[in-house]
Symmetry: C2
Subunit: 199 residues, 2 copies
């Protein structure tokens, strides 16, 4: 193995811990940091710490925020009648990018996983039940992941929330738009058949 100076080898090792970053990418990134101005490196270094120090969870929906409430909860133009439930804060990005949802969010910070011993007590559910109790919400869209854990969580939420007098819906599963049907797996295709609509 090439013998790199300790600080450089250490930075490469640290970059490699990031998701999707292998040895070569980590090397390129570390040598890039070595070349840039100290100011630029300092900004990156500080941004990493700021994310840990200046962010907390929204008091209403548990999304990431640097204030009391997140931008979606504090926006007066969003619809209080629909709450979209997601597993993690980054799941919100995808939904916002799609641009056709204008309700509120609720972040569970996890999903049910009996195999890993994660029961309802590991999810941030309390705030959701309270919000529904306050009466504005008419529909809860469960947008947990299309995995065993996400499905189990969806079923659990439906049983928990329906008695509170709210409509509980699940996002559609089917063949992805723009893909070739040949490549869809059996489960996806079977879900797509089940969820077919009149044209």
């Amino acid at each position: 193995m090439p013998e790199l100076a300790e600080p450089l080898a250490r930075l490469i090792a640290e970059f490699k811990r990031l998701p999707g970053i292998g040895q070569k990418s980590a090397q390129r990134m570390a040598f890039y940091v070595l070349r840039v101005q100290r100011d630029d490196a300092e900004r990156l270094s500080q941004a990493i710490l700021d994310v840990k120090d200046k962010l907390g969870l929204c008091g209403r929906c548990n999304n990431i925020t640097d204030g009391e409430l997140c931008s979606y909860c504090s926006d007066p133009n969003r619809d209080d009648r629909i709450i979209c439930v997601v597993e993690e804060p980054h799941n919100i990005i995808g939904i916002e990018t799609a641009r056709n949802f204008n309700g509120r969010y609720h972040v569970l910070h996890g999903a049910l996983s009996p195999l890993r011993g994660l029961g309802p007590e590991s999810l941030k559910l309390k705030g959701l039940v309270e919000r529904i109790g306050q009466g504005d919400a008419q529909e809860v869209i469960v947008a947990t992941n299309p995995t065993v854990e996400g499905e189990a969580t969806a079923v659990y939420l439906a049983r928990l929330l329906k008695p509170l007098g709210v409509r509980v819906t699940r996002i559609a599963m089917g063949i992805p738009v723009g893909s070739d049907r040949e490549f869809a797996d059996e489960v996806t295709l079977s879900k797509a058949m089940e969820g077919r609509r009149e044209m």
Copy 2:
């Protein structure tokens, strides 16, 4: 666009400056930093600063080092008679990984580029000439990149160093091992023909 909390948006923007990192990778990395322990984030943050603060150039070959001399210059088991010249410090990694070179290095920190106004004065050449003047070196292998700039630099080095009584060689250019010859471009193929050897 999704409205992210400022520190998170800023970290994503900083990660996007790194080579090979796009919007999605930067998002994944930033949300990963958000999830890890503060200690882990601190180690990454500190490693970035340390690379700027604790590293300098080797007094002999201009490689990156945290000491006076780099590990290759201070290794008593390497051969003083051969010096391999590269453009950038990271070019050494590839050569070391190949494991069949055991001489010394010299890093130019650039290449000649008349188009961008980079002449010989922009390269770290002085130390190289001095080292050859000291008499140990018998061969200089020019391992600059196979680009117009790297080639121009190689030609310049040959003219500069041969009069000092040293052998100057250039690494071979040809078809990459393991690739399909069909995909080699014309210039590479023409170089491969030129450099053919008796079997």
